[in-house]
């Protein structure tokens, strides 16, 4: 057993210790290195400006999904620029996946109100869960401090270019099937809203794995259509594998020229209300919030920093290369969008509850 010299064993031991340190790397990357110092934030707010406060601090940027998705990519794109703009020691992206973004959002909501924790919010996943008062929800997004929108997240209805339906007018009257991942999230909430608003004859088939699963189902012809974030479908649309027939968003969508917006199709009052609600959720898209109760001065400082970062030509260049639209929004306009997002009409809530 001990046939090796002490030297070899020591070397082995050192190597393993080194490996343990490397193994800590991914965890280390995602935890704040130093604890916030809340001591003097209440006693002497006048002396310390927000800029002083952030100097040398570590800001935690919570992404309530696994690494690699759309929300994560946006957060990782922005983080280094934000670090420089805030003058912070570092901005670390922390992935807290689970429960369709509910776990990470819960953790964000209960973080210290010092402005050192920000979170990218998955609105289409969390707003319906909060309004329906679903199990596990501990957050109240009406209370959080909204910082800025990085980009809107237009939702799109796509069909196969070879399928029987080629325009939204045909879709309105046809018997159709729509692929979806589960009973939450954008692939489910959007079609439920469309069915409720336009009294569609559509059946939602749930259980596909991720947006690549729902998209492939349309391409194979297993279902007629699917809905979801435009950004995840742009390359398939450019390739001619998927055809967008209607888009849901407040603003114009320059990436999809000639594709009609859903709003003009809504005739009745109920329909208009439903489409307005999901349009504003789509428009609020990928927005950043900080914990409830953060001093107003710091929220404004964060918000200004974000707006500067999102207008930085270097970042815009990277985003353009990666096919990631950037359309920043802050202040009252963002607040207004989020407020509208919460006004889910009775019909939509009933339809979502029915599952």
């Amino acid at each position: 057993m001990f046939r090796y010299s002490k030297k070899i064993r020591n070397t082995c031991f050192l190597m393993v210790v080194l490996l343990i340190i490397i193994a800590f790397l991914p965890i280390g990357c995602s935890k704040p290195a130093d604890q916030p110092a809340p001591a003097n934030q209440t006693q002497e707010p006048a002396k310390e400006t927000a800029a002083d406060f952030y100097k040398g601090k570590t800001v935690t940027f919570i992404v309530p999904f696994n690494p690699g998705g759309g929300f994560d990519t946006y957060a990782r794109l922005v983080a280094p620029y934000l670090e420089a703009e805030l003058g912070a020691k570092s901005v670390v992206v922390e992935n807290i996946p689970g429960g369709g973004s509910i776990i990470g959002t819960n953790k964000f909501y209960t973080s210290d109100p010092d402005g050192l924790t920000i979170c990218i919010i998955n609105l289409i996943g969390t707003i319906p869960s909060q309004v329906l008062n679903e199990e596990g929800v501990e957050f109240d997004l009406k209370n959080v401090e909204w910082v800025a929108r990085i980009a809107s997240d237009p939702q799109v209805l796509v069909v196969s270019p070879e399928g029987k339906i080629q325009a939204f007018e045909d879709f309105l009257t046809a018997n159709t099937t729509i692929s979806s991942t589960s009973t939450t999230g954008s692939t489910y909430v959007n079609p439920v809203a469309m069915i409720a608003a336009f009294e569609l004859q559509s059946k939602i088939v749930t259980g596909f794995e991720g947006s690549s699963g729902t998209d492939l189902a349309v391409m194979r012809g297993d279902v007629d259509a699917t809905m979801g974030s435009m950004s995840s479908k742009l390359s398939a649309i450019a390739n001619g594998d998927l055809k967008p027939i209607v888009v849901i968003n407040e603003e114009e969508v320059p990436e999809l020229p000639g594709v009609p917006n859903a709003k003009p199709f809504a005739k009745s009052n109920e329909a208009k209300q439903i489409i307005n609600a999901i349009s504003s959720i789509a428009a609020a898209g990928r927005s950043i919030a900080t914990s409830p109760g953060v001093p107003q001065e710091r929220v404004e400082f964060l918000s200004d920093a974000f707006m500067k970062v999102l207008n930085n030509p270097e970042l815009l260049d990277k985003a353009a290369k990666a096919d990631m639209p950037i359309n920043p929004l802050a202040g009252d306009e963002l607040k207004k969008l989020i407020d509208t997002s919460f006004q889910l009409p009775e019909e939509l809530i009933k339809a979502l509850e029915a599952k």
């Binding site: 064993r9 343990i20 193994a23 965890i27 690699g68 009973t183 259980g207 699963g213 492939l216 390739n239």
Partner: protein, 493 residues
């Protein structure tokens, strides 16, 4: 085409690309070695750097790092029974027993040789299939995946060891625990006990690490000594392992093709490729009853498949822009950043980039193995380190690895519970590999069963691929019975 191959090979081998390839391979191997860090994490870590690189350099860095993660993971699987990531799970079944027999060096040699060969074959599959991939991917809908997964269930018999009934029980238990979490069809929560952690089901990594790493370390603590029992043959070198690969080259090729084909089908998940290859290696080598006791075929099958899988998984990613796995989704994002547009143009103006990717797959696989080879002698000595030193270190690394699954305390609880279950299963002779296979296949079967029932109803049986797979299933289940009946008849006459 050949001329293109030549010119892009030349462009692949310019000094800056080689340097980025070396950095990528080093990073990939070390990260793969550490449990809990898979290909996704490696790519996410490298992503910030690709913005400022040339297309060729970025491809060299990303592809080479991602290609060798499974090679690095095989070493920890063999040495400690701790799979680097789920793609190395099946390597533990025979690789760790080989270490216990004092053949760690040979086992790593086998893993390196078959990983390299598998990776190269995966690259060749990618090269050949890109033009014809559309019909293959399009013919695999939910019904086909359901029947493919059902065929995979038959592998439980290979994984069961000497007691098929106990193996079946373990497999069923695996399917049962795969049902924990949200039901995607109705949104109902099953066996979640009001815990948010369980909403998404049990995570693969803590279950796997608990069943194997924790239980083996507990076992080692109780028995004492070192991992390698009895006389350790120091002369046992990786060269012996490489020769084993040469001797079994045809099996390596077949397992690599299995891996690549499973990689091509989006949604099937690369995690099962190494299991299917393990099962196939056991069946076809005639070593079925010895599987799990430390046979060479049990290492080279899965190791060849998990490297070949990368080439296969790139096929739909490049040809459609549809990523089949989380790792491929990140890679797709990175490729877009460096200006490569996946899709139909691939065979036109972008062909040289595709050839570069293929060349990088081949070169980095060879280089990754060559890099580890000189260290195998020293690595193998870890198996002679006394448990009092080894167990605490391995357990800490294992816990960190499990915690990486979702960075939640629940991961640690899952790890410890399955460590206990794994230890009891080992003691009572229940097959842990069968449990893991059931756990992986359970998710695929349930998801696709509901989907195909809702989409096609009973009509699904009329689909051609389903018919072929049904025949195969009948053959697998009733073949042995018919065979023995025939033999019996002959005997009577």
């Amino acid at each position: 085409m050949l001329e293109m191959l030549g010119t892009s090979l030349v462009s692949a081998l310019t000094p800056p690309q080689i340097i980025y390839m070396i950095i990528g391979v080093l990073f990939g191997v070390v990260m793969g070695f550490i449990p809990g860090i898979g290909g996704v994490f490696v790519l996410v870590m490298l992503l910030p750097f690709v913005f400022n690189l040339s297309t060729e350099a970025a491809i060299a860095l990303l592809i080479s790092a991602h290609a060798v993660v499974a090679t690095g993971g095989s070493i920890s699987a063999i040495l400690f029974g701790v799979p680097g990531s789920p793609v190395n799970a099946a390597t533990v079944f025979d690789g760790y027993p080989m270490s216990q027999k004092g053949q760690a060096g040979r086992a790593i040699g086998v893993a390196l040789g078959s990983s390299t060969l598998g990776g190269i074959i995966g690259a060749i599959v990618l090269l050949m299939l890109i033009p014809v991939v559309r019909p293959i991917v399009m013919s695999f809908g939910p019904a086909e995946m359901l029947f493919l997964a059902l065929t995979g269930v038959s592998m439980i018999s290979v994984l069961s060891g000497s007691n098929p009934i106990k193996g079946a029980i373990a497999g069923m238990f695996g399917i049962l625990i795969s049902l924990v979490g949200e039901d995607w069809v109705t949104g109902a929560m099953r066996y979640t006990f009001n815990s948010l952690y369980l909403w998404d089901g049990l995570k693969m990594l803590p279950v796997l690490l608990g069943l194997f790493a924790v239980s083996e370390m507990v076992h080692l603590c109780i028995t004492g000594g070192a991992i390698a029992k009895g006389r350790v043959k120091i002369e046992d070198s990786p060269i012996t392992g490489l020769l084993d690969v040469v001797k079994n080259w045809w099996l390596v090729v077949k397992c690599a093709v299995i891996g690549a084909v499973i990689g091509i089908i989006p949604g099937l998940g690369g995690d099962i490729a190494n299991f299917i290859a393990y099962g196939y290696a056991g069946q076809s080598s005639g070593n079925k009853n010895n599987m799990g006791t430390g046979v060479v075929q049990g290492v080279l099958g899965p190791e060849s498949a998990n490297n070949a899988k990368e080439g296969g998984a790139l096929v739909p990613t490049l040809a459609f822009g549809i990523p089949g796995s989380a790792g491929m989704a990140v890679l797709l994002g990175a490729l877009t950043i460096i200006g490569l547009i996946p899709g139909r143009d691939l065979l036109g103006p972008q062909l040289s980039s595709v050839i570069l990717i293929i060349a990088m797959l081949v070169i980095s696989n060879i280089f990754g193995a060559a890099l580890i080879l000189p260290f195998v002698k020293y690595l193998a000595r870890i198996t002679t380190v006394n448990v009092t030193i080894l167990a605490p270190i391995v357990l800490i690394i294992t816990m960190i690895g499990a915690f990486n699954a979702s960075r939640s305390f629940g991961d640690i609880v899952t790890l410890l519970i399955f460590g206990f279950i794994g230890y009891e299963m080992k003691k009572l002779g229940y097959s842990r590999p069968a449990l893991i296979l059931g756990f992986i296949l359970g998710v695929i079967i349930e998801r696709n069963m509901w989907l195909s029932y809702n989409l096609y109803g009973i009509e699904m049986m009329k689909r051609p691929v389903v018919l072929i797979l049904t025949m195969l299933l009948l053959l697998i289940f009733f073949g042995p019975v018919i065979k023995s009946k025939m033999a019996h008849k002959k005997g009577v006459i």
